[in-house]
Amino acid sequence: MDWNLFFFVVFPYISLTLFVVVTTYRLIYRPFTQSSLSSQLLERRQLYWGSIPFHHGVVWILLLHLLALVFPKALLLWNAVPLRLYLLEISGFALGLWALVGVVVLLWRRITVPYIQAVTTRMDIVVLILTLVSMITGVLTASLYRFGSTWFTGVFTPYLWSVFLFQPRPELVISLPWIIQLHLINNFALLAIFPFSRLVHILSWPLDYLIRPWQLVVGVRDRKATK
């Protein structure tokens, strides 16, 4: 079997299919199961040092990845000035490190605190380990293979789009160093388990909180309609 074909064509499609189909099913038919499953009530000190760095780091990193995927030109334009390139690289690296620290604390807390063990499933551990691998390979990539924010647009942007558009071009990633490949495969693995884990909470962006009225009133029938 051609492993390259498996890891860079077959596996991405399996995980993307799972991600789209099962997630949609779960959000529509099993909304009760979508929750961030906070455990702050049971343990808060370690959570503070884990959750805040991890989430604030990972949210920005994901957004940067998304930016490189959707607006590669804009990113390249930004990077055209060396100072701005350094700024982006350094802050990206720092955010990655920060998130890495967070995930280590979270994993440690999951494994060692009895109160947290009581609410831990096997899937939680899988999620944390995959996230940890993702963070480590990401941070290593950023430090070993300089200026990822620039070469990403030449390698991953076309590769990912080729996958999304059903014309996969695995040749773009076959010759990459193994750390970067691991980063890629690992993230597809995360995508595959996404709908089966607590990760679904990522999809609840409560942004309309910024504009909705403070109070919500729901009636059996519309009052005004009965007039």
Binding site: F32, S35, S38, L41, S51, H55, V119, P206, R212, L216
Partner: protein
């Protein structure tokens, strides 16, 4: 005028015997589950005391309720943007220790223990981890002033009381306490609803019950922190917030909520209140000393033809209006003005009300004998003119029920006392004299009202205490579906529509 309807409960604190039947009834029905063991949607706390969760009234710590800043009302917890930044860690969230760690006992050991020289014991174990624990606290750890030098002393409502009065409240001959049963207040300006980033909490239009939509809840836990009464709880097992639902399935079938129904002291009354939704923004945003007046103003008179017309205009049925006219809540809150909101200064506009308790006369120690601090002349009810001689300091009650305004409390207590004096003359002495008439008039009551109050307080039948309108649930399905279609679909127990596959 935007007339709306609300189901409200009144707690007559003088009648509460602190038996916790209400709490247990509620627990048995709703919270006897994994993840909910520590929740008491209904709890009864001893006052003075620190309550459950410990120190819940201390909003500098828990940041619940609303805050008036430069004439504008805002959540004390966060601005909207801050709220989103605190999703990942919510600093104001109470920890499990602020409630207590739920426990049970290892009863198996009593049967399975190997033969020993000593009796086997059932060790306490945590209901979360299953490990043996040392029980350090529990709900009502300070029941009936137990451990009062730790708990009662730290009651946040003692604030503003002179030091010597505080000291006296700890002396044996002045000791006093009352009970405070608490459920969710189903507020008109709920902080939990306003704090939820997901918009998962809402207020039901028809009766005002505040509910969490468990399907929309994403466990951001802002509601738990924002509720100044700490009556939203986080279920650590399901990862969803939960709260008192005012037993709406019972109310919809004409039964009182479990806590009220089971109440041994019969202290609870329930009925419809009509209120003017247009006045909420104003009433929640007046200076502290005007809060009660503005709140009462917002409650509408169900006999007023203008109110009735506006209610009908809003689609409120005749049966609900009639129910509002018979409502005991209306009588206590608006007609007699003796039921008060708990902590109106939190500005959530609570819709559950309390009649503050009376307390005995203070006693003094003379030559190591107790003597009641009575007046010289023969006056059969000592306290009426000397409320300051009551053991529960007026200021303390004011901190609980009137945002610190002692005048409101005095008026209420004098009404309660005047009715007692009047009824005592009438039933014990056999005739009403001028003194009792005078006290009634001074308290601002007519004889008729006094008799009504007496009857409603002492002798009410079940159907006088609980007046429920018809909810017409049979009609609610119209909101979703043609009733005839619905009729053909019920009875099979499907979560999804039994639709034929392709």
């Amino acid at each position: 005028m935007d007339v709306r309807t609300h189901m409200s409960m009144v707690f007559h604190l003088d009648k509460c015997i602190g038996c916790h039947t209400c709490s247990v009834a509620c627990k048995n029905i709703w919270t006897d589950r994994k993840g909910a063991e520590y929740m008491w949607w209904n709890n009864v706390e001893t006052r003075p005391g620190t309550g459950y969760p410990t120190q819940w009234e201390n909003q500098e710590h828990f940041r619940g309720g609303w805050e008036m800043k430069k004439g504008k009302l805002n959540l004390k917890l966060h601005t909207r943007l801050e709220g989103l930044f605190k999703l990942f860690y919510n600093p104001s969230l109470p920890g499990l220790r602020d409630y207590y760690e739920p426990f049970t006992f290892d009863y198996k050991n009593l049967f399975n223990s190997p033969k020993k020289d000593v009796q086997p014991i059932a060790e306490p174990i945590s209901m979360i981890t299953g490990d043996p624990i040392d029980i350090e606290t529990g709900p009502n750890w300070d029941d009936d002033l137990g451990g009062s030098n730790i708990y009662a002393k730290n009651d946040p409502n003692l604030e503003g009381l002179p030091q010597e009065v505080r000291e006296q409240m700890n002396e044996l001959e002045r000791l006093v306490f009352n009970y405070l049963p608490r459920i969710c207040n189903h507020c008109l300006n709920p902080a939990c609803v306003a704090a939820c980033p997901s918009g998962a909490i809402y207020k039901r239009d028809e009766d005002g019950v505040v509910l969490v939509n468990e399907n929309d809840c994403r466990a951001w836990r802002m509601c738990v922190a924002a509720c100044p009464y700490k009556k939203v709880y986080y279920n650590w097992n399901t990862g969803k917030s939960e709260k008192c639902i005012l037993c709406f399935p019972r109310m919809e079938t004409g039964q009182a909520p479990a806590c009220a129904h089971s109440c041994v002291g019969r202290i609870r009354y329930m009925g419809v209140l009509l209120y003017d939704a247009d006045q909420i923004p104003h009433a929640a945003n007046v200076p502290d000393d005007e809060l009660i007046a503005a709140h009462r103003e917002m409650i509408l008179d169900p006999f007023d033809p203008k109110v009735i017309a506006a209610a009908k205009e809003n689609g409120i049925g005749d049966d609900w209006i009639e129910s509002a006219q018979n409502s005991p809540a209306y009588k206590f809150v608006k007609e007699w003005e003796i039921a008060l909101p708990l902590h109106p200064e939190f500005r959530t506009m609570v819709m559950m009300y309390y009649i503050p308790p009376l307390s005995p006369v203070v006693s003094v120690t003379e030559r190591s004998l107790f003597r009641l601090d009575l007046m010289q002349e023969d006056y059969d009810f000592e306290l009426f003119d000397r409320l300051d001689a009551a053991r529960l300091p007026i200021k303390y009650l004011a901190n609980l029920f009137s945002a610190g305004d002692e005048g409101t409390i005095r008026t209420v207590l004098r009404k309660l006392l005047a009715v007692r004096i009047y009824m005592r003359r009438k039933t014990v002495h056999g005739k009403v004299d001028s003194i009792s008439r005078k006290t009634l008039a001074e308290a601002g009551l007519t004889e008729e009202q006094a008799i009504d109050m007496y009857k409603m307080t002492t002798l009410p039948k079940m159907e006088e205490r609980f007046v429920f309108p018809n909810y017409h649930r049979e009609m609610s399905i119209e909101a979703m579906l043609d009733p005839l279609t619905h009729k053909g679909e019920v009875g099979l127990g499907y979560i999804q529509q039994p639709k034929r596959g392709e």
